[in-house]
């Protein structure tokens, strides 16, 4: 089972890296989502798999009897999922705003490359600004 999951992690990572390197930022988002899932699966696999054995201490016993599922990786994954979700949301909003301002999400587009094109004497902040 570990072998299959390890292969799967590798496969998903490969797909994610391919997407991330494609040069289109929307594909980067998909790549990021895939990669964070691959990492979660990696933590899950690394934390030893035990099928159908909940980590419960049976009646009359003091400690957990081996083998049992490891609860800690699941707690780690849960944290990572929540954080990854927040990051993904932010990334999507950032890309949306960038697309609205520059009209492109192609990483090789000069409009995205040239970060110092505007004149600094115009002010540290723009004079007009929207509500949100």
């Amino acid at each position: 089972m570990e072998g299959v999951l390890a292969l799967l992690v590798g496969l998903v990572f490969a797909a994610a890296i391919y997407l991330m390197l494609s040069g289109v930022l929307v594909r980067f988002v998909f790549g990021f989502a895939l990669a964070s899932n691959a990492v979660n699966l990696l933590i899950f696999t690394a934390g030893r798999l035990a099928h159908d054995r909940p980590p419960l201490i049976s009646v009359g016993q003091e400690v957990l009897s081996e083998p049992a599922a490891n609860a800690l990786p699941q707690a780690l994954i849960l944290t990572a999922i929540v954080i990854g979700f927040a990051m993904l949301t932010f990334l999507l909003v950032l890309l949306y705003r960038t697309y609205a301002e520059t009209g492109t999400l192609n990483a090789d587009d000069p409009r995205l490359m040239d970060e110092m094109q505007e004149d600094d004497t115009r002010g540290t902040h723009p004079p007009e600004r929207g509500a949100a």
Partner: protein, 502 residues
């Protein structure tokens, strides 16, 4: 006693919450941030005072015993990093009062800054690898908010590079955590110190260490992973840029020093002496050479952040007591000098209307105090005696010579000279050159512009600290040697965390 460790994290977080509630009242938010920064500073001073009394402080969160629960640990290195964070935090808060516009305050500028300050302290104090990851994420999230707050196009495009590369870094960090947990069954750093040596396949440990090195390397802007930094930092308001440049990339350096002295010391031939050593050299060289080609003040400073980080990593890679002490002093000196230079760049912008070397000028004649504040930090950065940077460079280069890496020592000295070249370029263009005539007659008069006292005061105070640090180096070096000793011989650290079972 253990609450001492919690306050430097908790106080900024509490301030953040209260600032959220009154962010619409700009005046109240300013004062609240100042009070929060002052409290943060006093908590940090109390922590350092307690640590200097000769013990490593440990707080077990929720009273769970060490390898199972999360611990906060403060040794000399952590405590002094927390203190310097609080100093920069306070300086930036005072500076923000004039520099940050009401719009940004209403959008939650102070909230993000306080969360960022708390998260940085959390990263310095935690003794748990997964908790370190969480603090990194909190830091990232707050910095994302600050990064795009002005919502200019350049901030968005710079922000994308910062965000994407840092997200990749967190993924690698998390993957490394998964592998390390799989091999050792623990994520407590003190526990890892012993457990890593017991792993049957040492090559796997080195692989996980390399993953972590890349993850921290992206944060710390090491060669060849630094491209996001000069793209995003120059787009920020001066106060934010000062905080980021002083502290964010240094958290990566701190994490690297912590992990590669406490945990990953099983294969130093590969990880330290080969890879980190080479990376340090390239980082110094590429940063300083790229800076020489720039003509915008903040971009020059951004590239110098990179080259200076090379020195710290050089100190780590040698792994001798003198080198590590040098790296620690370098960190402290660089945080002060670098943050101050960015704050000074904001003053230059206010006085002359431009960050660009060609369009600014005449500041030495018109704003003597700004010039002093800039010059002290710039010369400290370049390593002129008797300022703090000289001693930091001296220690690192001496340690390099003692390890018989003569070529690297020469490189480090040459990079120092090139740093001086860049600083003198800024000095000659912005301060000595007569102010250029404004291009458009309708434009604001750029000559002799007044600067705000709220912005000038922190610059002078930080310059003063740099000066005093350089003049009274003896106790600082002794302090750094003890800190380096604690890093190189982590038995005391492990015993303090795990309670007598090293």
């Amino acid at each position: 006693m253990s609450m001492l460790l919690v306050w430097p994290i908790l106080l900024p977080m509490l301030t953040a919450i209260t600032t959220v509630l009154c962010r619409a009242k700009v005046g109240a938010a300013h004062w609240m941030a100042l009070v929060g920064a002052a409290l943060h500073l006093s908590a940090a001073v109390a922590l350092l005072a307690a640590v200097i009394e000769g013990q490593i402080l440990v707080a077990h969160m929720g009273n769970w015993p060490a390898p199972f629960g999360i611990v906060l640990v403060a040794d000399y290195f952590s405590a002094v990093m927390v203190l310097i964070t609080a100093v920069i935090h306070s300086a930036v808060m005072v500076y923000s009062r004039s520099d940050i516009e009401s719009d940004l305050v209403r959008a939650g500028y102070y909230v993000f800054m306080q969360i960022l300050a708390g998260a940085v302290c959390g990263a310095f104090l935690t003794g748990d690898l997964f908790n370190l990851y969480v603090w990194f994420e909190v830091m990232l999230m707050a910095s994302f908010g600050l990064l795009v707050m002005g919502r200019r196009v350049s901030q968005l495009t710079g922000g994308i590079k910062y965000v994407t590369l840092n997200l990749v870094s967190t993924l690698l960090f998390l993957a490394a955590i998964g592998l390390i947990y799989g091999m050792t069954g623990t994520l407590n750093m003190a526990d890892l110190h012993a457990k890593v040596a017991l792993v049957p396949q040492p090559a796997l440990v080195t692989a996980a260490a390399m993953l972590l090195m890349v993850a921290f390397g992206i944060k710390a802007a090491l060669f060849p992973l630094f491209f996001w930094l000069p793209a995003s930092y120059p787009t920020l308001p001066a106060a934010v840029a000062a905080f980021f440049s002083g502290l964010l990339s240094k958290v990566g350096v701190y994490a690297m020093i912590r992990m590669f002295t406490l945990v990953f010391t099983t294969d130093t031939g590969v990880t330290h002496h080969a890879i980190l050593f080479g990376v340090a050299g390239f980082t110094m060289l590429f940063g300083v050479v790229s800076a020489a080609a720039q003509m915008e003040m903040r971009r020059i400073l951004s590239f110098h952040i990179i080259s200076q980080i090379g020195y710290m990593i050089l100190g780590l890679s040698l792994l001798t007591p003198l080198a590590l002490a040098g790296a620690i002093i370098y960190l402290l000196h660089n945080i002060l000098a670098k943050a101050n230079l960015f704050l000074a760049s904001g003053l230059v912008r206010q006085a002359t209307g431009s960050f660009h070397l060609e369009r600014a000028g005449g500041l030495y004649k018109n704003n003597g105090w700004v010039s002093i504040g800039f010059l002290v930090s710039a010369l400290a950065l370049a390593g002129m005696p008797p300022l703090s940077g000289f001693w930091a460079k001296l220690l690192v280069i001496r340690a390099t010579l003692e390890s018989h890496h003569y070529a690297m020592a020469i490189l480090a000295a040459v990079v120092g000279l090139l740093t001086l070249f860049s600083m003198i370029k800024i000095w000659a263009e912005v301060f000595w050159k007569p102010a250029p005539a404004p291009k458009d007659p309708g434009g604001k008069a750029s000559v002799g512009g007044q600067v705000s006292a709220w912005m000038l005061a922190p610059v002078l105070v930080l310059a003063g600290i740099t000066l005093v640090l350089g003049l009274c180096m003896e106790p600082v070096i002794r302090f750094a040697e003890i800190a380096a000793g604690q890093l190189l011989d982590p038995r005391a650290y492990v015993t303090a965390v795990l309670g007598g079972t090293p």
